[in-house]
C-alpha cells in the first residue's frame, strides 16, 4: 500500500503552493535544519542528522499517506518553508507543524496561510476531528501563531514520551466545525 509520490496532494492558497516534501527539497531542508533557528524543534541538526531527518520526512508520506508539505511561492518551485501533519513514532496524536526556512521571509503570514490550508485539508479530505501543535514554551513566535489560529492550551494532553520533550506545551486546534 505504498503511496506513490505522484498521488500526494497539492494545496493552493492565495500566495502559496503546498506540495509534499520530496528529494528536490533535501538540500534546502538540510540548510534550514542546521540553522540555530531550529532550536525549538530539536535543532540545530548536524548536516548528517539533517539529511537523515529529510529522508525520514519523505518516508513519512509513504508510510502514513500524509506528511510535511513544503511551501512554494507562485512561479517558483523552491521551498521557503514547511507545514504539515506529523505522526512519527512516539507521538500520541497527529501534530500540525510549521516552519519558515528563510528568516527573511518570516513575519509575512506565510506559515499562518499554510497552516490554515493544511488544517482544512486534514479536517476535510482526511476527516480528522482534532489536531495539536507541540510548541516549546520559549518559542514566542509559534505560540503567537497558534493563538492566531484559534488554538488553546491543552494542559491535559499527552506529549511524546521522548528525551528532550519535557516542558513542551500542547496547543489544541479548534474542532472542524469551529475552525
Amino acid at each position: 500500500m505504498t503511496l506513490r509520490h505522484a498521488d500526494t496532494p497539492v494545496l493552493e492558497t492565495e500566495r502559496l503552493r503546498l506540495r509534499a516534501f520530496d528529494a528536490r527539497d533535501v538540500a534546502r531542508g538540510v540548510n534550514y535544519l542546521t540553522q540555530v533557528r531550529t532550536v525549538y524543534m530539536g535543532g540545530p541538526y548536524s548536516r548528517a542528522a539533517a539529511w537523515d531527518h529529510c529522508a525520514g520526512l519523505i518516508g513519512h508520506w509513504a508510510i502514513h499517506g500524509f506528511g510535511l508539505f513544503v511551501l512554494c511561492l507562485e512561479g517558483d518551485d523552491q521551498a521557503i518553508g514547511d507545514c504539515g501533519l506529523l505522526m512519527p513514532g512516539g507521538y500520541p496524536e497527529i501534530e500540525l507543524g510549521w516552519g519558515i526556512w528563510d528568516p527573511a521571509l518570516e513575519g509575512r503570514g506565510y506559515a499562518r496561510e499554510a497552516a490554515r490550508a493544511v488544517r482544512a485539508h486534514a479536517y476535510g479530505t482526511f476527516g480528522l476531528s482534532t489536531l495539536v501543535s507541540y510548541i516549546d514554551p520559549e518559542n514566542a513566535r509559534s505560540i503567537a501563531l497558534a493563538e492566531r489560529l484559534g488554538c488553546t492550551l491543552d494542559a491535559g494532553a499527552a506529549i511524546p514520551d521522548l528525551p528532550g520533550w519535557t516542558g513542551t506545551i500542547v496547543y489544541r486546534h479548534p474542532a472542524p466545525e469551529a475552525a
Binding site: D52, A55, G59, A62, P88, G90, P160, L162
Partner: protein, 201 residues
C-alpha cells in the same frame, strides 16, 4: 525512486523487496533491542520510526537503498540489506542487518551477495565499502566471507568504525572467490551439507 518501483531481487531462498509500511514491526523490534548496538542503537520509538522512514526516503533521494529480505516460502521478513549512503557517509556502503531470531542461516550472505551483484552489474558501481563496528565480529566475519578486505587508509564515518572494502566487480565475475561464496550459499540452501565457517548471520 518511488518505493513502488524498487526492483525485486530473487535468490534461491529469498525475495528482496523495497521496505513497506507493513514491515515496520520487525524492524522496530530489532532496532529497539540490543541487537542494534553496532548500528547506533538501541533507539527510542521516535528514532526507530524516523530511521525506517529514512530507509524509504533514501530510495527516493539516491535511487537505491535497503531491501527488505523475505523468506521465499513464508514471506516473513528476515532482515535488510542493500546500499546506504546518507550525508554523513564518506562512500557508498553495502549494509546488512538480520533480525536476532533469524541469524545463523546464511541469509545475509545470500542476500548481500545478490544486492552487490545488482549494484555492480545493473547500476555500474565500481566498488563499495562496509562500515563495521570493530566489536561486531559476526559482521566482520560476513564481510570477509564476501571477500572484503579491511581498508585502514579509507575515511571512516566517525572514527569508531572499521572500513571493509568489497572486491571489485571483475574479481567477482568468476574465480575462486565467487565459487567459494556460491558454494557456501548452496551449503546453507541444502541441509544435507553444513557450512564450513562459523554459522553467523
Amino acid at each position: 525512486m518511488p518505493t513502488s518501483r524498487i526492483p525485486v531481487l530473487d535468490t534461491r531462498r529469498l525475495v528482496l523487496r523495497g521496505p513497506e509500511p507493513d514491515d515496520y514491526p520487525n524492524f522496530k523490534a530489532t532496532f529497539a533491542s540490543y541487537r542494534s548496538r553496532f548500528m547506533g542503537g538501541p533507539l527510542n520509538p521516535y528514532e526507530t520510526w524516523m530511521l525506517y522512514a529514512a530507509e524509504i526516503g533514501h530510495w527516493e533521494i539516491r535511487g537505491y537503498g535497503m531491501w527488505m529480505i523475505h523468506d521465499r516460502e513464508t514471506d516473513k521478513t528476515l532482515g535488510m540489506t542493500g546500499g546506504w549512503y546518507p550525508a554523513g557517509w564518506p562512500e557508498r556502503e553495502i549494509a546488512w542487518i538480520i533480525w536476532p531470531d533469524e541469524a545463523g542461516h546464511g541469509y545475509a550472505l545470500e542476500a548481500t551477495h545478490a544486492v552487490r551483484r545488482y549494484f555492480y552489474d545493473d547500476l555500474g558501481w565500481e566498488g563499495a565499502v562496509s562500515y563495521i563496528d570493530p566489536k561486531n565480529l559476526d559482521s566482520i566475519r560476513l564481510a570477509e566471507r564476501l571477500g572484503c578486505v579491511k581498508d585502514k587508509e579509507a575515511a571512516t564515518i566517525d572514527g569508531n568504525d572499521a572500513v571493509y572494502r568489497h572486491p571489485a566487480p571483475e574479481t567477482l565475475r568468476s574465480g575462486q572467490l565467487l565459487d567459494g561464496i556460491e558454494l557456501e550459499i548452496s551449503h546453507y540452501c541444502d541441509p544435507l551439507f553444513k557450512p564450513k565457517g562459523m554459522p553467523v548471520d
